[in-house]
Amino acid sequence: MLETIKLSKTFKEKKAVDEIDMYLDEGESVGLLGPNGAGKSTTISMISSLLKPTSGDVKLNGKSTIKNPSEIRKVLGVVPQEIALYEELSAYENLKFFGKIYKVKKELLEIRIQEVLEMVGLKDRQKELVKTFSGGMKRRVNIAAALLHKPKILILDEPTVGIDPQSRNHILETVKKLNEETGMTILYTSHYMEEVEQLCNRVYIMDHGRVVASGSKSELLSILSTEDTIQIQLSKKSYPLLESIKGMEAVRRVEETNEGIRVISKKGSNILSDLVHAAEKVDIQIIHFQMEDPSLEDVFLHLTGKTLRD
């Protein structure tokens, strides 16, 4: 349905997006994952025709949208990262304004406004001014405004940044419902791994303007099929122990965590006895250890060498 072909964007000397190839099938929910500054928003801006790419193409049903963006604009709903609403107007007035802008027929507009307000759970507060809303409520109206014209593709740019858990859950539920019940194609960008895991069938992982990995969750996790992750809880912190573990042949990486340390080693290397000996040597007690299944967070760490919040 929608694809990007070697899509690139350079700002002066800096390459913000570097030859990205992506595709979205109809009815799919796709995640675009990456830390701040990875190039997610620039990619979205190019896909939604707000920004002209330096090179490459965006195709909707096989037709380029670069020269003639009107086709993609008709089927696209974009939820921007910022709250793109008039704060001095009520939620209802905002939606009425955006409905008129999107040329929703007069007789349908009222029905659509009530539908989308119901969808985001703000029907009973529609007459209140947006400026009196909490951050989460504003973001819900922000989403509602993008749904008025019943878009076939919905692009959400980090829609849950800085909001309360209740609103966050509501937004995730709404997006899930839109995808599952109406068959809306979703492109969801976030740097919250758990959101993408919860919502998306497929994930693109971006870093430094490039797609470093893509695929379904299981496909991405298989990248780490050659590694074991061991979470160890220690009686106290010890730098010499950390160094000693790092020096072990089978160990690929060691990280300090809130609970203790996390050791990533070659699959099946069986380093548990070595770990116990190393701890004994520096007089540290291992309180608890656990073999962990790798998460997408681990995949991201493996691919980019940093965490998503970096």
Partner: protein, 365 residues
């Protein structure tokens, strides 16, 4: 275009205070500064220290007391000096038999007017005394007055179209100046809505909608035009029908106001092109705008600013053309042909500023 226009209206409908404040400011500033020129009468303290002081004072006060806006009041020397010293009076006049002395602390414009008048009266009296010789000056004065009732030569001054020459009305200039000046702020703050929409992301939403960019701009700019124009009209109507100002042909004043508004919207758009955020605009615009009426000479008598550089800068902005055209209509009964040039200049400024402004706004991503 209409949804964009209506959204701006909905926002302002909830907060009309700014417009009301600006309307009030225009009226207040004109009344405070404009009417001073109309009602103010300066008082000059007069005294004499000569042995025959009473006689001298009586003689000269009688001769001096023929000026419309200067009142000569007798006082003690100490009292008169104290008033000048404390700034309560600009000037005091010490009278002598055939001479005078002005006592002043600062060179205020009023001092020159008093000096001019006193000198004129003393010179005329000296001429009469010289002409009378040993005869009575009183008789000669009477003779001269009778002679001047039917003079052999009469100089009559009239305007180019044969009517009376109108007195320059500074109050009227300030009325137009302040109204247009305050409207410039309204225009700027409304045009800044475009930058605010761009920063908030609303502009991007509009771009993705079926509304064309031209309609987006027109919606914002037409709204700015309507608000500023409405504000000016309210002020002019109050002055015309409530405060009794004679504004001349009102249709022409309305036309000039419309051309000025269009032109100033373009200038605001040009300034928008230089800034990145609405906050930057709020910093730059109110710093720049108050300079324009000063350079344009709106607060001064015509001809005060003679520096060609300042005159050139003033000509770049529509304010000087707008005030000039309105003054021509109000004071000199100018016709449509007479105001065509300032209107054309304002529109030219408008076209150029709008072209450059929108280009700069569009280039800024």
């Amino acid at each position: 275009m209409y949804p964009v226009f209506l959204a701006q209206w909905m926002k302002d409908k909830r907060r009309p205070y700014l417009i009301l404040l600006f309307i009030g400011l225009s009226i207040l500033a004109t009344i405070i500064f404009g009417d001073i020129d109309r009602i103010e009468q300066s008082t000059v303290s007069v005294y004499s220290t000569e042995p025959n002081a009473e006689e001298i004072e009586q003689k000269w006060i009688e001769l001096l007391d023929n000026h419309d806006s200067i009142e000569y009041v007798l006082m003690d020397k100490e009292e008169a000096h104290a008033e000048v010293l404390e700034g309560e009076s600009d000037v005091a006049l010490q009278l002598m038999e055939n001479d005078y002395r002005l006592i002043t602390a600062t060179e205020m414009p009023g001092v020159f007017i008093v000096e001019q008048h006193v000198q004129q009266v003393f010179t005329e009296e000296a001429k009469l005394v010289a002409a009378a010789g040993t005869n009575s000056t009183l008789d000669l004065r009477k003779e001269v007055a009778e002679y001047l009732e039917s003079p052999p030569l009469k100089v009559q001054t009239e305007s180019i179209d044969g009517g009376d020459i109108a007195n320059y009305d500074m109050g009227m200039q300030l009325l137009f100046g302040f109204t247009l000046f305050v409207a410039m702020f309204t225009i700027g703050f409304k045009v800044n809505g475009i930058t605010a929409d761009k920063v908030s992301g609303i502009w991007n939403r509009l771009i993705l909608s079926p509304v064309s960019k031209t309609n987006m701009y027109i919606g914002h700019l037409f709204y700015s035009f309507c608000v500023a124009f409405f504000q000016m009209m309210i002020v002019f109507l109050i002055f015309k029908y409530i405060l009794g100002y004679e504004l001349g042909n009102f249709a022409m004043i309305v036309t000039i106001a419309a051309a000025f508004t269009l032109s100033m919207i373009s200038v605001a758009m040009l300034i928008t092109g230089f800034v990145k955020t609405p906050e930057q605009f709020y910093m730059v615009y109110p710093s720049l705008i108050p300079i324009i009426p000063v350079i344009s000479g709106v607060y001064m008598q015509p001809g005060t600013i003679t520096n060609p550089v300042l005159q050139f800068i003033a000509d770049i902005f529509p304010l000087s053309h707008g005030v000039e055209a309105m003054m021509d209509v109000a004071l000199y009964n100018a016709g449509w042909n007479d105001i065509l040039l300032p209107i054309a200049l304002m529109l030219l400024i408008g076209v150029l500023a709008m072209g450059i402004g929108i280009n700069m706004v569009e280039r800024r991503k």
